[in-house]
Amino acid sequence: MSTKTIKKPTSLDDTTLIDFYRQMALLRVFEERCAEQYMLGKIRGFVHLYIGQEAVAVGAISVLQKDDYVTTHYRDHGHALARGLTPNSVMAELFGKSTGCSKGMGGSMHLFDAPSNFAGGYAIVAGHLPLTNGLAFAFKYNNDKRLVATFFGDGALNEGEAHEVMNMAALWKLPVIFVCENNQYGMGIPLEDSMANPKLTEMAKAYGMPSAKVDGMNVLAVRDATEAAVKHVRAGNGPYFLEFSTYRFRGHSMADPVLYRTKEEEGKYRKLDPILTFGEWLISNKKATQDQLDKINLAIEYIVEESVKFADESPFPKIDDLYKNIYAETT
C-alpha cells in the first residue's frame, strides 16, 4: 500500500472537495454510532463497520450516474450512504424497523434501495458478483449506456464465483466496474496467507481486463481512478478492475476481538486516516478552514443523532409482514 498522503493537484472546485470531506465524515460518525447502538443491544446480528475505508465508497460513487447500479457486500453502510440513502433509512434498517431501507427484512448486511439504484448489499462472499453481471447484461441487451459498480473485498477473490464472473464479464464486454477494497484481511486471515498470488490486478490481467491499483486512503486518487474506469466502461469497452489499498480500523465485525494483528500495524494505518489526512490537506491548500470543517462535523453529529432517534421511534414490522414479499401474490 502506498504511504503517500500528499494529494496531487485537482481540478475539482472547493464545494465538491468539501462535500467529499462531509460525506466521509458522515460515514465515520454513522458507523461510530452503529457500534454504540450495537453495544446497547439496539442492533442485532453481524455488523461490519466501514471505518477506515470511507475514501473508497465516497470517491468511487461520486463519479457514477444516478441511474447506474451499485451492488456491494455486507460491509455496506458506507456504500449506501455514499449512494445517497438517508442515514434515517439505514439506521432504521439496522434497528429492524419497517421504515428501514429494506423494511426491516434485510438488516445490516442486506441494504437495498430501488430509487437510488442501490441493488443491494449481499452477505455471501462473492455471491453478488454473478448477479452484478446480470444487471450489466441487461444494460447491454437494451443498448443502454449505464453501468454497474460492484464493491467487494480481497477475500472474495478466493471464491470460484468471482472468477466465473470476471471471465464472463470480459468475454461479453459487460459494463461492470469491479471495485476491490483490499483491506488486507478476510476476517482474520491476512491476504498473503490465503492467496497464492497476492497481486490482485494480475487476476484481472488474466481475463484481459484493464486494471489499476490505487491508494484507497486518498479520496481524490480513488475518484480519479474510478473516473478513468467509468470512461472506459461507458464507452462500451467492457469491464474494468480497480484495486484500492485500504485498511479497516475496527474488527471484521462487532463480534471480532481482533487477535490476529498488532497494535503497531493498526497505529501505522491510523496515521493514514482518509478523513484526517484529507481535512489537513483541505486546510493547508486553503480549500477550507478549520472552522468550516468543525461546523460540518457538528452538523453531522446532529444528523446521525436524529437518525438514531428516528430509528428508535419507528415501528417494527407487523406480524403480517412475515409472509409478505415472498412471492408476487404475497406483496
Binding site: 437495498f112 434501495d113 448477479l131 452484478t132 450489466a136 464472463m168 408476487a328
Partner: protein, 325 residues
C-alpha cells in the same frame, strides 16, 4: 389437436416466448450450434440470433447470476442448466440470491427468472448424472417448482410461468423428451399450483409427478383389468402444491400411495403423505404408503439401475400389498 413430443412442446413454448416478448432471452451451455443437449433449442440460434440465444461458458453460477441480475433489471431470462446435477454449482445463486431478493429488499426488487433444467435417471449415466433434486428446491420459500409430465402440460405451464415475476425452477425429465401426447391447437394456459387428475378411479389414489405419472398410469391400467380402480393425480408443481385436489381424491378413494423418483429419504413425497394423513385421516381406510427411489447413488450397470426408480411392476406390487393389509 396435434400430437407433439415433450421436446417439441417445450420448443414451441420457448419459441412463443421469444417471439412475443422482446425481453426474453435464453442462456445456456451448448444451446446454439449444438442445438441444446436435448435438442430442445435446435434451430433457435438461426431463428433468433445470438442476442436472444446466448451461448454460455461452462459456469453455472455465473450463468444463473446473469439470469438473476437481468431479471432484476427488467428482462425475462430463461437459464438452461444442462441437467439438475449441475445446478448444484449454482445453488448459491438460486437459493441464496434469486429466492431471497424480493423478500430481503422489502419487495423493491423482483426476480422474474426461469431456470429450466432436466431431472431424472434411467439413461445409464451413473451416480453424478442421474439424480432427482426437485424436492430440495421445493423446500425453499421464494422459489416455485414446476414439473410437467406431458407435452400438453409442458406447453400450458410454460405459458403461465412466463408471466410470473418470481424465480421458477422448470424441471423437465430426461426420459420424457421423446414421449408424445395430444396438444390442443387453441391457446390455453395451465395455472401453477393446480394438480391434474390424469386418470380417474374409485379404489386407490396415486399421487405422482414428472415421469412417475406415466409409470403410475401404466400400473393403474393394469390393475383396472382386475377391477381395481386407481386414480392418478399429477401434482404438476411441487411449490406451490395442490392440497385440495390431493385431499379430495383421497377422501373419495380412502387410500393413497405417493410415488416419486427422488430418494425416498427426505423426498418431497413425505410432505404430501403427512398432509394426507393429517387432513384426510377420517377418510382413510389404510395407512398412506410411499414409493420412492432407492436410497443408493444410481449405479451404472443396467442390471442394477433398473431397480432404482419405481416401475409399473413395483407400483402394482405396492398397491397390492396395501390392499392385502
Amino acid at each position: 389437436m396435434a400430437e407433439l413430443s415433450y421436446r417439441e412442446a417445450m420448443a414451441k413454448a420457448l419459441r412463443e416466448g421469444l417471439v412475443e416478448d422482446e425481453r426474453m432471452f435464453i442462456i445456456g451451455e451448448d444451446i446454439g450450434p449444438y442445438g441444446g443437449p436435448y435438442a430442445v433449442t435446435a434451430g433457435f440460434l438461426d431463428e433468433f440470433g445470438p442476442k436472444r440465444i446466448v451461448e454460455s461458458p461452462i459456469a453455472e453460477s455465473a450463468m444463473v447470476g446473469i439470469g438473476t441480475g437481468s431479471a432484476m433489471a427488467g428482462l425475462r431470462p430463461v437459464v438452461e442448466i444442462m441437467t439438475i446435477n449441475f445446478s448444484l454449482l449454482a445453488l448459491d445463486q438460486i437459493v441464496n440470491h434469486a429466492a431471497k431478493i424480493r423478500y430481503m429488499s422489502g419487495g423493491q426488487f423482483t426476480v422474474p427468472l426461469i431456470v429450466r433444467t432436466v431431472t431424472g435417471g434411467g439413461a445409464g449415466l451413473a451416480a453424478t448424472h442421474s439424480q432427482n433434486l426437485e424436492g430440495w428446491y421445493a423446500s425453499v420459500p421464494g422459489l416455485k417448482v414446476v414439473i410437467p409430465a406431458t407435452p400438453h402440460d409442458a406447453l400450458g405451464l410454460f405459458r403461465s410461468v412466463r408471466k410470473e415475476t418470481d424465480p421458477i425452477m422448470f424441471i423437465e425429465h430426461i426420459l420424457l423428451y421423446s414421449t408424445r401426447g395430444e396438444v390442443k391447437d387453441d391457446y390455453y394456459e395451465i395455472p401453477i399450483g393446480k394438480a391434474d387428475v390424469k386418470r380417474e378411479g374409485k379404489d386407490f389414489s396415486i399421487i405422482a409427478y414428472s415421469r412417475m405419472v406415466n409409470v403410475s398410469i401404466a400400473a393403474a391400467d393394469a390393475l383396472s383389468k382386475e377391477g381395481i380402480g386407481v386414480e392418478v393425480v399429477d401434482l404438476r408443481s411441487l411449490r406451490p402444491w395442490d392440497r385440495d385436489t390431493v385431499i379430495q381424491s383421497v377422501r373419495k378413494t380412502g387410500r393413497a400411495l405417493v410415488v416419486e423418483e427422488v430418494w425416498q429419504t427426505g423426498g418431497f413425497g413425505g410432505e404430501i403423505a403427512s398432509a394426507i394423513q393429517h387432513e384426510a385421516f377420517d377418510d382413510l381406510d389404510g395407512p398412506v404408503a410411499r414409493l420412492g427411489g432407492l436410497d443408493v447413488p444410481t449405479p451404472y450397470s443396467m442390471s442394477l439401475e433398473r431397480l432404482v426408480a419405481p416401475t409399473e411392476a413395483t407400483v402394482i406390487e405396492a398397491i397390492r400389498k396395501e390392499l392385502a393389509r
